[in-house]
Symmetry: C2
Subunit: 138 residues, 2 copies
Amino acid sequence: MERIPILQMGEFLLVTIQVDMHDRLAMTLQDDLTNRISQTNASGVLIDISALDIVDSFIGRILGNIAKMSQVMDAETVVVGMQPAVAITLVELGLSLTGIRTALNVEKGMALLQATVGKAANAQFIATEWDLEDDAED
Amino acid sequence: MERIPILQMGEFLLVTIQVDMHDRLAMTLQDDLTNRISQTNASGVLIDISALDIVDSFIGRILGNIAKMSQVMDAETVVVGMQPAVAITLVELGLSLTGIRTALNVEKGMALLQATVGKAANAQFIATEWDLEDDAED
């Protein structure tokens, strides 16, 4: 069966979309990705769309869904490698990829993820410290 | 035009093959990859074939060619993510991927590349030191 491979790079997962997405392929990708996040305890997902010449509302919705699902599983999503022509068309069509963060390429996307995950970890750490202090005061 | 994206990860390039290779696509990939090695001064190439259900002699030859071209341009090539069934079929068909190094997944492939590149850099360094000594004796 056709499926899009998911590569693990440290604590992040990398998905390169090269083929035209159709309903079943998108469902399979969502299933595979959520399973992999759960198995690997990944903290971030990079989706590379540099091979896509067209990003329509269907692809936009899939990317949005993946971002939301990952978010629920405590993993950040960054879409990377959008072609200039795709960005122009998206704006001209009035399609905004709401809730999706983007970066120029994989390296910048990974840096963005690392910064976000690091900040989240710090916030968690501070929250834990506060909890401890609260406990101490009780 | 259809083309396989090449992602840069630090000093390595990552290529994920997901679609059936045909002659023109293979040629385009070879062109793109050699150009990218030259532009980015990459020291290693990772080729992920986890999406391929079949690796025949044509794919084998392409992988071999890419490995040789990269070698000439001073970049090592590692093929990663081969499916177990593919490995079994390759051996049963008597196809040996001569001159191609493999690793289980991207992370192990990257570690192998790093080890190889590090060793090569050391050898280069030692060779340079010898040259210096020779020069000093002259």
